[in-house]
């Protein structure tokens, strides 16, 4: 499986929904699966407890959703624990784009660092979008970052994302490490000006 890299301007594929507000990262990946020193096995374990409960009828288990890469969610998705295991699990299952009413902040940042855009739209729009998606899971949806839209053959929805994240996906600079390392001299200057790293002088 290829993971996101470089500029992320278009994503297209099939979509499905996970419905409900305040879906926390403990549900996306239960704590027992954090016992690992590598992220590689997480894709299988995404939403493990919810899936277990629904015995094969969870959206992440349905045959028609295999290979889909766009997830439509509701409000405050990804709240709770900061575990990057949650977006890692979604990414390793195959998710490349998440659209919802709103996202928890740390989750949004973790997705950004992995190259998975999280975009928002109003409650009304998301409800409508979820309905369309659920009516026909085999249709292809096209996401266009520049237009900030997601569309099928007939309908198009306007989406939002904060400017910083937009630019990072657009330019491919969402993988921050190298950018941060460029500023060696400035980092050293910051250190020199911090009282607590200089005996409070």
């Amino acid at each position: 499986m290829d993971f996101p890299k470089g500029e992320i301007k278009y994503i297209s594929g099939r979509s499905f929904t996970i419905q409900g507000d305040d879906i926390d990262t403990d549900r996306i990946i239960p704590a027992r699966f954090l016992k690992c020193v590598s992220f590689s096995a997480l894709g299988e374990q995404v939403f493990a407890d919810d899936r277990e409960e629904l015995k094969g009828n969870h959206p992440f288990d349905l045959d028609q959703n295999k290979g889909a890469n766009i997830l439509i969610v509701n409000d405050n998705f990804g709240c709770g624990s900061s575990r990057e295991h949650a977006p890692q699990a979604l990414m390793r299952w195959g998710i490349r784009l998440i659209v919802g009413e709103s996202f928890a902040e740390i989750f949004f940042g973790n997705c950004l660092a992995l190259g998975i855009p999280c975009l928002t739209a109003s409650k009304e729009e998301i409800t409508k979008l979820q309905k369309l998606v659920n009516e026909n899971t085999s249709q292809i949806w096209n996401f266009n970052l520049k237009d900030l839209s997601i569309s099928n053959q007939k309908e198009s929805f306007k989406l939002k994302i904060e400017e910083g994240a937009y630019n990072m996906f657009y330019t491919g600079k969402w993988d921050a490490t190298s950018q941060l390392l460029d500023e060696n001299e400035r980092i050293n200057n910051t250190v020199k000006n911090l009282p607590y790293l200089n005996h409070f002088n």
Binding site: S102, E105, I187, Y196
Partner: protein, 469 residues
């Protein structure tokens, strides 16, 4: 936009560069790591052939996976052992100080760092753990990060971050007897909602906050994230300085005086501008308990479980889910709800004063039949001091188990777990579905003293009944 707040001042000191697109490269003064969110970060660093830039600004401990009954190495769980061994190896090869098992300074990362004096006013503190907000109690900007950011901080001691707005939450009055910091923060989250703080840093201020001990302040800031605020902080004052004085990593001698004057200069100005301000009365708050599946679903001990039909529209669905999952009936009092397990511990309420308050309730009483109750001190130091005060004996005599320090049943990554549909009274911070180790286990969050009262009566109890005279 805010100005003149502690948040603004500390932010400015740590700003390395404005990045294109509105985020800032922010320097991290104290980086804390543990076994769960760091191994993949070190692996990524090695892959990129990068080194740890300032090994002396990263400090490690082990907390999430440690067993609390027998801490003999190797751990009986091979995965837990592998995680600890990996952390040890990474610290060793990168020159990072590790506070391991048997070091007297090991503990839940948000308990051990403050008690060593590592957390100080004016710092930026980052850790791959959402409850890093705890350290804001000292007047630091402290926030949780994901593993990719742990990698970035290791490599560059900095990360890309957007400046938050600042909301001041002013709490008047003083808390009644039997009402603790935990009740106050559960009440605030109930008022503002679990996502009310998204995009904000919370400044907690006002008489009721100033009256809190450092431990109480840590409880408040710890749960800022449960209200959606990535960081919460309290301006440093004499209580802060007194706590820090003489701690292992606190400034000493002449540096101490200079430190105090710098710390004082960081306090939010009297004419500081906030993006939002909220005021509430602390004296009207009652002991608070969660009944649902988010920390925002809290009510006072004297209230009834809300009827989803009469809640605001946007809360109805999650309230219905909660009633179903928790198997609690709307319109019934929460007081008297039977419980199975009692847990006192965690980075929210696993500190000495928490155990002391709980022990007052437990003293000369017995845990109700059929209830499993246990105390897990937040750190080796807490355990040691509690034993010196004889608290362990009080709990043991009453029928509690007394365990070794760790995260334990807060998230149940170690052998301490709920079983099946068990329902717990817990002093921890999250009541999410499945949080305490059983996919359908249930959690009621409350103060440690309330957990103690629940253990004695075998059901949710108003702790004030135990505190008369």
């Amino acid at each position: 936009m805010s100005s003149g707040t502690l948040y603004d001042k500390v932010w400015d000191f740590h700003q390395v560069k404005e990045l294109p697109g509105g985020s800032t490269q922010l320097f991290v003064g104290l980086h804390l790591i543990h076994e769960v969110t760091s191994p993949q970060a070190f692996a990524a660093l090695n892959e990129k052939k990068l080194e740890v830039k300032f090994p002396n600004l990263t400090v490690a401990t082990v907390d999430h996976i440690v067993p609390t009954s027998n801490q003999q190495r190797p751990f009986s769980d091979p995965l837990a052992e592998e995680m600890l061994a990996t952390l040890e190896k990474n610290c060793k090869s990168n020159g990072i100080k590790f506070h391991g098992i048997g070091s007297n300074s090991q503990g839940v990362v948000h308990v051990m760092a403050p008690e060593l004096g590592l957390t100080q006013p004016g710092m930026t503190v980052a850790c791959g753990d959402s409850h890093t907000s705890t350290h804001g109690a000292f007047g630091a900007i402290a926030f949780g990060i994901g593993t990719s950011q742990v990698r970035d901080v290791l490599a560059s001691q900095s990360l890309a971050m957007k400046k938050l707005k600042v909301r001041r939450i002013w709490v008047d009055g003083s808390l009644q007897k039997g009402v603790y910091a935990k009740d106050l923060i559960l009440h605030i989250i109930r008022l503002l909602g679990v996502k009310g703080g998204v995009g904000f840093a919370y400044e907690f201020a006002g008489p009721a906050i100033e009256n809190l001990s450092m431990e109480g302040r840590m409880t408040i800031c710890n749960m800022a994230i449960e209200g959606g605020a990535r960081c919460g902080y309290i301006n440093p004052d004499e209580t802060t300085f007194k706590y820090l004085k003489g701690k292992e990593y606190s400034p000493k001698g002449k540096e101490w005086d200079k430190a105090i004057s710098w710390w004082k200069s960081l306090v939010s100005d009297s004419e500081a501008r906030f993006d939002d301000e909220i005021q509430l009365d602390g004296s009207s708050i009652e002991p608070t308990v969660t009944w649902g599946i988010t920390p925002g679903q809290g009510i006072s001990i004297k209230e009834k479980i809300p009827n989803p039909e009469i809640l605001p529209k946007n809360e109805q669905q999650i309230a219905k889910d909660a009633c179903k999952y928790m198997d609690l009936e709307p319109d019934k009092p929460i007081e008297g709800t039977s419980i199975d397990v009692c847990f006192i511990g965690s980075c929210t309420n696993g500190r000495l004063s928490d155990l002391e308050e709980a022990s007052k309730v437990v003293k000369d009483q017995k845990v109700a039949t059929g209830i499993r109750a246990f105390v897990v001190p937040g750190s080796q130091k807490v355990a040691k001091e509690a034993k010196q005060k004889g608290l362990d004996k009080i709990f043991l005599k009453a029928g509690f188990e007394w365990r070794e320090p760790g995260c334990s049943m807060c998230l149940a990554m170690n052998p301490d777990k709920l079983e099946g549909r068990q329902i717990s009274a817990s002093s921890s911070n999250r009541n999410f579905k499945g949080r305490q180790g059983s996919a359908n286990g249930r959690t009621l969050l409350m103060s440690p003293a309330m957990v103690a009262a629940a253990a004695i009566n075998g059901k949710v109890t108003d702790v004030r009944d135990f505190l008369q005279d």
